[in-house]
């Protein structure tokens, strides 16, 4: 199963995502902001990154931009966890290099379906 990086400043959301994915057999690393996620990404070969948009220190958009600048993350799927009210954020995320998004709120089944969609 895949190595996945879950990035969210909300411990409950991050916990829910990580717990759900681990339950499906994935290996999940958690980070609570974009900066910590970048640090984690440099030392690991994650196959998928799930990231919140609004985070302190470094938000999801800036994180995507920096991740994409790393050779190892050029083609790795990065999904933004976003709310429906922010279509412009979706586009901003895409422009930064995000692969797609998962609209909050989502339940574990939706999360797993989306992850399966990306990882094949």
């Amino acid at each position: 199963m895949a190595k996945i990086l879950a990035v969210d400043d909300s411990a409950s959301m991050r916990g829910m995502v990580a717990f759900t994915l681990r339950g499906a057999g994935h290996e999940v690393t958690e980070a609570e902001n974009g900066q910590l996620a970048l640090d984690a990404a440099r030392g690991n070969a994650f196959e998928l990154v799930l990231a919140d948009v609004n985070m302190p220190v470094m938000d999801g958009i800036a994180m995507v931009r920096q991740l994409r600048a790393l050779d190892a993350y050029k083609g790795v799927p990065i999904l933004m966890l976003t709310t429906e009210s922010h279509t412009e954020k979706k586009m901003e995320g895409k422009a930064a290099g995000a692969t797609g998004w998962l609209v909050k709120p989502f339940d574990p089944e939706q999360l797993l379906a989306t992850v399966k969609r990306v990882l094949g």
């Binding site: 909300s10 959301m13 994409r68 922010h86 895409k94 290099g97 692969t99 709120p105 989502f106 574990p108």
Partner: protein, 679 residues
């Protein structure tokens, strides 16, 4: 797919949401005081956004609905479509309060929304310009049962750089119906030489046919993430048989004749392991106080443990082949063990320590509300927010502090007019300080207001019978009067209590924490209330004393002096009390053996030792048999193990394993004073 139990995350959600609301409130107050830092708006927005996302995810619909409207409003602020004024901040602060209540209700399994929250939500909705009804799902022509779809998909060069891969898209299409790749081509603009190629750019295009009764929306959904990264047309198959208008000319070179992709089912990996049962972890969500500990503190603990293990192995090494010549090494080892133990103890205690800032953070809001209510202008200064206090102390010090802050604004600080008349700045200053002093944490609440009103306090004390009419009282005694029970009356205990009202309660609360509170005041210049608190409730420095066969521990912090009395220093007074002369005053003697009923104790005062203790300016002498030495005592609650005992604050275990009781100096002094008053 077994349902994943999310209740285990509820507690975290409530905790972080309340923290988010605190941050939101602080940022709102900063905005209110004129800050234009745009990051504040982001902070406020982020908090609302997270709460909304979490609430929706964990199924707290009412909280989500409320936050949704607040978030929409905040989005307008964030995108600078709406300015910030006092009215908006008021509304948002009320929303913060409302959300706190809703979260509280939700966490107790009660309905979150009530008439108030609905009314407030209505206000928010009205304010949000053109709050659109939730957009209906994109209108799609009813799932036309066509034969299928002709799809023309040409990647734009940057497509791959978004992590989207046509392979994945096509696999998804395969799951909808039978997919034929009619044609794959390299677009004209592609570099003709490898040397010029950036392999991260995509120069391919496809003509596909998807057969089957598939809704157009489902086909479009496959491509939703690559909107803007490709040219895409999706047409019903019949219509597409006409040559499509090609926006990009195709390179004739590698045009392959339509090849039917082998409909080999892509073996999707079987869902790995069945989802693990999650029920057993659900119990973890039950209530229970938890504490967040900085990783540095945990690291310090682990370091200490490491050193302890080294010492232990060194000692057991000595123990295994012990020879008297190693006595010095043994002694060194024991010293090291002592040091390790002490450091470990300190590290463990630090885990319970939290910064007082979490309590201080309540005050900007409180001060703002009081300013408005009372028509005063107050500048609040906070200092020493990082000073750490025991968690239990921290939880209980909030109310006394709130009381003192209210008092300072209500009665300490004057109105702008009065201040102007007195030649002061119209804006009064209220300052909160926290710092270490000795083994204590000191918290000070200072104002530059009018100071205690001596005449009014004396008059009131006379009226209440606390002092005799015409009795001389010095400034210190005046200050003490306001802490006396009975100084205030319930009739005056309004929403904003008058100075003096409830001060006795403040003192009692602080005492319960093992601390003390006092006030210094200067007429026309202001007042300073000082609270001294122990670093922790769990450990005290004590003097071990012997009383008969028992051991009593007197907290070191209360001890003024210990002395042996000569018979002529003691005087018997009417009513059987005994006093002795000490630094220009007579102090009552409290015979501990009598107070606690100890057998075989020394009863002649001159053969025992008198320990002078002080609490809030009052002193008594405790008669004990002997002083055995100083020791740190880990306080065990008697209430928890037995019951509350007058004059005893707890128990501890001595190094020889016996139990010693800890003297509650406050209680004992009160008993002693009563004896003196009766005298």
């Amino acid at each position: 797919m077994g349902a994943v139990d999310l209740t285990q995350f509820h507690k975290t959600f409530f905790e972080e949401s309340l923290e988010g609301l605190d941050a939101m409130e602080a940022a709102l107050l900063a905005l209110d005081s004129g800050s234009t830092d745009h990051e504040l708006v982001h902070t406020i927005f982020r908090a609302a956004h997270s709460i909304k996302g979490g609430a929706a995810t964990f199924g707290f619909a009412e909280v989500a609905a409320f936050t949704h409207v607040a978030e929409s409003l905040l989005e307008e602020v964030r995108s600078e479509r709406r300015g910030v004024d006092g009215e908006l901040i008021d509304l948002l602060l009320r929303s913060v309060d409302c959300l706190r209540a809703m979260l509280d209700h939700t966490s107790h399994g009660l309905p979150a929304a009530d008439a108030d929250s609905e009314a407030l939500r209505g206000e928010l909705v009205r304010l949000v310009s053109g709050e659109a009804a939730p957009a209906p799902a994109a209108a799609t022509p009813a799932a036309a049962s066509v034969d299928g779809w002709a799809i023309r998909f040409v990647a734009l060069p940057h497509l791959l750089q978004t992590g989207n891969d046509p392979l994945r898209l096509f696999r998804e299409l395969q799951q909808l119906g039978q997919l034929d790749v009619c044609r794959a081509f390299v677009v004209d603009a592609a570099p003709t030489q490898l040397a010029e190629l950036d392999p991260g750019q995509c120069w391919l295009g496809w003509e596909l046919r998807l057969h089957g009764a598939v809704a157009r929306a489902d086909v479009a959904a496959v491509f939703d993430w690559v909107e803007g990264d490709c040219e895409l047309t999706i047409e019903p198959i019949a219509a597409a048989s006409v040559a499509p208008v090609a926006p990009v000319a195709v390179a004739p070179t590698l045009v392959a004749p339509p090849v039917a992709a082998p409909a080999a089912p892509v073996a999707s990996p079987a869902p790995a392991s069945a989802p693990r049962p999650v029920r057993e972890t659900a119990a973890a969500s039950s209530e229970g106080s938890s504490i967040r500990v900085g990783i540095d503190k945990v690291d310090a603990l682990i370091n200490m443990m490491g050193e302890l293990v080294i010492t232990q192995s060194m000692l057991s090494d000595i123990g295994e082949h012990f020879h008297l010549s190693q006595l010095e090494r043994l002694r060194e080892g024991l010293l090291q063990l002592e040091r390790n133990t002490r450091e470990l103890q300190e590290s463990v205690m630090r885990i319970r320590m939290l910064p007082i800032g979490s309590v201080f953070n309540r005050f900007p809001r409180l001060v703002r509300d009081l300013e408005r209510k009372l028509g005063k202008q107050v500048k609040l200064e906070l200092h020493g927010e990082h000073t750490e206090l025991d968690k239990t102390v921290l939880e209980k010090i909030g109310d006394p502090l709130v009381h003192l802050v209210r008092n300072a604004i209500d009665h300490g600080l004057e109105s702008p007019e009065q201040r102007r008349a007195a030649g002061k700045n119209e804006t009064g200053t209220l300052r909160l300080d926290a710092y270490h002093e000795g083994g204590n944490i000191v918290v000070q609440i200072s104002d530059d207001g009018a100071g205690l009103n001596r005449a009014a306090i004396v008059a009131k004390a006379e009226q209440r019978g606390l002092i005799r009419p015409g009795q001389e009282v010095d400034d210190a005694e005046v200050a003490e009067l306001i802490f006396q029970p009975g100084f205030s009356t319930a009739a005056q205990a309004t929403d904003l209590s008058g100075r003096g009202v409830g001060m006795d309660v403040v003192r009692r609360n602080v005492r319960d924490l093992g601390g003390s509170v006092g006030v210094r005041s200067q007429s026309g210049k202001g007042s300073v209330f000082t609270i001294a608190l122990p670093l922790t409730l769990a450990i005290i420095d004590g003097l071990v004393t012997a009383v008969g066969e028992e051991r009593y521990i007197v907290p070191l912090i209360s001890i003024v002096e210990s002395l042996r009395l000569r018979p002529e220093m003691v005087r018997k007074i009417a009513g059987g009390g005994e006093v002795f002369h000490f630094r220009n005053e007579y102090l009552p003697i409290m015979r501990l053996h009598r107070a606690f009923g100890c057998n075989a104790a020394i009863t002649e005062i001159e053969r025992g030792i008198v320990v002078v203790v002080e609490e809030e300016g009052r002193r008594v002498g405790l008669l004990v048999d002997d002083l055995l030495g100083q020791q740190q005592a880990v306080v065990k609650s008697l209430e928890a193990h037995y019951q509350r005992v007058q004059g005893i604050s707890g128990a501890t275990i001595l190094s020889d394993g016996s139990v010693a009781l800890i003297v509650d100096v406050c209680g004992v002094v009160r008993l002693g004073q009563r004896g003196k008053a009766a005298a």
